[in-house]
């Protein structure tokens, strides 16, 4: 007898529909799974047999063939266990499907209970798109399943629940129906949104408030520009200058995620298995700060199951790299593609996937190994060429992607005590949100950092005087075309923060002053 069930597989950030066909035929007792299964899937045989028995059903002593179609797609993971088990029950006549069409996702435990799986959100999204609105998922995953609009999701705790669901009211009841009936949780609101998340995200609750940071006017200002325009920012300064502290204010300064952005992020988090049992679409932008010893796979993604890395988990948010020069060179070089294209493409022996990774990079580093190069008070202990060598550890192409660079100095103890209260994060966040909204409206949904070529020039709306000033600057300091564009992008954001329609002279001059520390523009005049 033949049974056919529907389940799904993860392919990058997309789900793909998989048809599970189970045939139970007379013959020597055996079970074959065909259709490009991986190791975890081949082991499904053993899990399914134990789960079926321990849930109180008979495991047919017949020849069982399980086909996963389409056969050419490589399947991985254990999310098919449930569909295979139910298929065996149906094919062996223990269960008659009467509940209407249903797709099943879930890994089985040997005792017949159902364990959560990763990637439920994109898989359910695909199923619904392909017309399978009724979906049974592991109970812990039902929250994320219901993020999908139009779904009729059932949370399942054990094989029994699945059997009852498949059987429907008129079907055969399970032999040991001791558990409570499966809970129906449907997606209530339009647009695929669950409940609105609480306004305070745990990440921002730990965030430092700008009001608690003394001095550092330049760095605060640079950070404000960076967050308003989405510019990648490099902070350079001695230990104890407050680079890390300043970075920890970022979660409290970022504007909230839009609904569609939040869903993109939820999909990535689902694939990474990071969505908790009660997920809501997050409002806070992600802020990820991998340690500088983090491995390539952790940051970039990959591994045997081609999981998304932190650069994808920081999608639409900020990736903070403290001690930039201490990161593995390969990790840093791999960040160039995400910074340029907003995606990361992973090609491995086990397959290829492309994950979104539109991150804003905020990095911090010491000016040299000991950290005190250029410090007015403390003498640097490094050799003469050491600072240059240290900074060269960060490759030129990566530095090119950093629109902003700001030098911090240690705040003298006297300033720590004397200066009045600094501006609070709330105030700065409002300015950032306003500037960002202005930019997004003008740039057709792009932040200023994403402007290039003609779109940049159009967005800048340079007047005659500003144009002249810019070309004077470019000539005087020998700016390359790329550096000029960088300057203009930053100037555009400075103007947005000031609420100006067009980029005027002062914004251009201020942008030039900002990067002057590194010889990027005005620094060349000094030498």
């Amino acid at each position: 007898m033949l049974a056919t069930l529907i389940t799904a597989v993860i392919d990058g950030l997309d789900g793909a529909l998989i048809r599970v066909e189970v045939d139970v035929a007379p013959g020597l007792p055996s079970c074959h799974i065909v259709g490009l299964p991986d190791a975890a899937l081949s082991e499904a045989r053993e899990r399914v047999r134990a789960a079926v028995r321990n849930a109180g059903y008979d495991y047919p002593a017949s020849r069982i063939t399980v086909n996963l179609a389409p056969a050419d797609r490589r399947k991985r993971g254990a999310a098919y266990d449930l569909a295979i088990a139910v298929g065996i029950l149906v094919a062996s006549g223990q269960l008659r499907a009467g509940g209407g069409p249903l797709a099943l996702l879930g890994e089985l435990s040997l005792d017949g209970s159902i364990r959560p799986v990763a990637g439920v959100l994109p898989m359910v999204a695909t199923l619904v798109r392909r017309g399978h609105r009724r979906v049974g998922v592991p109970s812990p995953n039902v929250g994320e399943a219901r993020l999908v609009a139009g779904v009729e999701a059932y949370g399942l705790d054990g094989l029994d629940d699945a059997v009852r669901l498949v059987a429907g009211p008129r079907g055969r009841r399970a032999q040991a129906a001791t558990r409570r009936p499966p809970v129906l949780v449907s997606a209530p609101t339009a647009g695929g949104l669950g409940e609105v998340a609480p306004p305070v995200d745990p990440a921002s609750a730990e965030a430092v408030d700008l009001a608690d940071i003394r001095g550092q006017a330049a760095a605060r200002w640079a950070l404000e520009i960076a967050l308003a325009g989405g510019h990648n920012l490099l902070m350079v300064g001695p230990p104890g200058a407050g680079k890390t502290l300043l970075a920890r204010t970022i979660p409290g300064l970022l504007p909230p995620l839009g609904p569609s952005e939040a869903l993109e992020l939820a999909v990535i988090e689902s694939v990474a298995g990071l969505l908790g049992p009660e997920p809501t679409l997050r409002r806070a932008r992600p802020f990820r700060a991998p340690h500088h010893t983090s491995s390539y796979v952790a940051v970039v993604g990959g591994g045997p199951r081609l999981m998304p890395g932190l650069v994808s988990l920081a999608h639409r948010g900020v990736l903070f790299l403290d001690e930039l020069a201490e990161f593995d060179r390969f990790v840093l070089d791999a960040l160039r593609q995400p910074l340029e294209e907003g995606t990361i493409h992973l090609a491995r022996a086990s397959g290829q996937v492309t994950y979104p990774a539109r991150v804003q990079l905020v990095a911090a580093m010491n000016p040299c190994r000991c950290g005190y190069d250029g410090d007015p008070e403390v003498a640097c202990r490094c050799g003469l060429n050491e600072p240059e060598r240290y900074q060269r550890k960060v490759s030129g192409p990566l530095l090119d992607r950093l629109d902003l660079r700001v030098e911090l100095r240690r705040v003298p103890p006297a300033d720590l005590l004397s200066s009045g209260p600094a501006e609070a994060s709330r105030v700065v966040a409002e300015r950032i949100a306003a500037a960002r909204a202005r930019a997004l409206a003008r740039n057709q949904g792009l932040v200023n950092a994403e402007l290039v070529g003609t779109s940049l020039v159009r967005a800048a709306r340079l007047g005659g005087a500003a144009r002249e000033r810019l070309s004077e600057l470019a000539t005087a300091t020998g700016l390359s075309a790329r550096a000029t564009h960088r300057l203009l992008r930053v100037a555009r954001t400075i103007a947005d923060l000031a609420g100006l329609e067009a980029v005027e002279e002062p914004s251009i001059l201020a942008a030039a002053a900002l990067r002057s520390g590194d010889g990027g523009s005005l620094g060349r005049l000094a030498a």
Binding site: G215, Q216, A217, A218, R220, W221, G237, P367, D373, G374, P376, A379, C380, L384, V406, E407, L408, R409, V411, D415, S419, E472, L473, A476, G478, I494, L497, A498, E505, P506, S507, I508, L509, A510, A511, A512, A513, L514, S516, G517, G519, L522, G523, R524, L525, A526, A527
Partner: protein
């Protein structure tokens, strides 16, 4: 050796350019054969043998000498290609200050104005390649003031103190001489290419005793320091750690009987330890201010010589504060009092960071301010008020 003998002069230059022939070998060759031209003739005639053995010349050097003797002109091709002039002690325009040296260079190749080497008054300003903002500012102020009173400033084109001094002179429209420790094909740090052009354009010179193709090595910088101090009457040391090129230059200055002024540092500060040691252990005098420094260098500022007519002030063409808005003026005023970072400027002016930064942008573009890390220094006309 009287008068100018073109043949001898050409032979002299060619012989000095032979790879592996240093001051010592050159001196023995010229001394033994009675001149550079006779030396080349003798080598051509195969009479190098006994002397070569005595000098223990390596085979490559002997081969190079034989080849040079056969075709002395080709050695000078790089000089022409790079547009260099060459001075030898045979020339009337050989800098008078170098004639008194115990170990003078054999030749001097250069770009720019030979006249800048013959200035009536010349002061060397040297110091560390990694100065504090205060040290950089002092170097700038010295350069600016010395240029203002018509003194030629000699330095080494290195980053740090040297660069600050050169740049300030150029900005003031004065003349400055850079003595480099390598050949002209790869002169000085890359970051100073532009400064080097400015030095030449404003009537100064970039000179080296090394042939144009010579590469910088460990030894070339200490050796060039004797020329650096030798081309000046007074050497001013701004910031120097205990073991540094600036200290080496200072010792050359003392041996050559030059006037030595040293800016003192704070006891215990590594970056100026060498300066304190010089003050304690030599007859160097402390440099405590611009006017005092000029006085100690024997320069009467009232007798200020006008900068050369061909030199015109660069970048900050307009004197005074025309073209500056109130924000620029406020920032300029604070910078005039000394180095400051953005925090301090914001605190001092009460303006928003964006306004201060914009003012700094304009001041830097005009050459009135410059950035050194997070610190901004006054420059150009603001140096006088600093």
């Amino acid at each position: 050796m009287g008068g100018l003998d073109p043949e001898e002069r050409a032979a002299w230059i060619s012989l000095s350019l032979v790879e592996g022939v240093g001051l010592l070998t050159f001196g023995r060759l010229v001394g033994h054969f009675g001149g550079a031209a006779p030396a080349l003739a003798a080598i051509r005639a195969g009479r190098l043998g006994p002397l070569a053995a005595e000098l223990r010349l390596r085979h490559v050097v002997r081969a190079a000498l034989v080849q040079a003797a056969a075709d002395p002109q080709s050695l000078q091709t790089p000089l022409r290609r790079l547009g260099l002039w060459t001075l030898t002690p045979l020339d009337e325009r050989w800098p008078a200050r170098l004639r008194g040296l115990a170990d003078p260079p054999v030749t001097l190749h250069g770009w720019g104005e030979v006249a800048s080497l013959e200035a009536v008054r010349a002061v060397a300003v040297v110091g560390t390649r990694r100065p504090t903002p205060a040290g950089r500012l002092l170097a700038s102020r010295l350069g600016d003031r010395l240029a203002e009173v018509g003194v030629v400033v000699v330095s080494g084109l290195a980053i740090g103190i040297d660069g600050a001094a050169h740049a300030a002179v150029v900005a003031r429209g004065g003349r400055t001489v850079a003595v480099i420790g390598a050949g002209h094909r790869a002169p000085g740090p890359r970051a100073h290419r532009r400064l080097m052009r400015d030095i030449v354009d404003s009537g100064g010179a970039v000179v080296s005793e090394l042939g144009p193709l010579a590469a910088a090595t460990r030894g070339t910088y200490p050796r060039r320091n004797r020329i650096l101090s030798g081309l000046a009457d007074t050497v001013m040391v701004v910031e120097a750690p205990a073991r540094s090129g600036a200290i080496n230059t200072a010792h050359h200055a003392l041996e050559q009987g030059r006037n030595l002024l040293v800016a003192p540092g704070r006891p215990g500060e590594v970056r100026t330890a060498g300066c304190l040691r010089l003050l304690r252990e030599t007859e160097a005098r402390p440099l405590i201010g611009l006017d005092e420094a000029l006085a100690d260098a024997g320069i009467d500022p009232r007798l200020a010589l006008a900068p050369g007519p061909e030199a015109s002030p660069r970048r900050h063409a307009e004197p005074g504060q025309e073209g500056l808005g109130p924000a620029e003026r406020a920032v300029a005023q604070r910078l005039g009092a000394g180095p400051a970072d953005l925090d301090q400027l914001v605190a001092a002016t009460g303006l928003a960071p964006a306004t201060v930064a914009s003012a700094l942008g304009l001041l830097q573009l005009r050459g009135w301010a410059q950035a050194s890390g997070a610190t901004y220094l006054p420059a150009g006309p603001l140096l006088a008020g600093a």
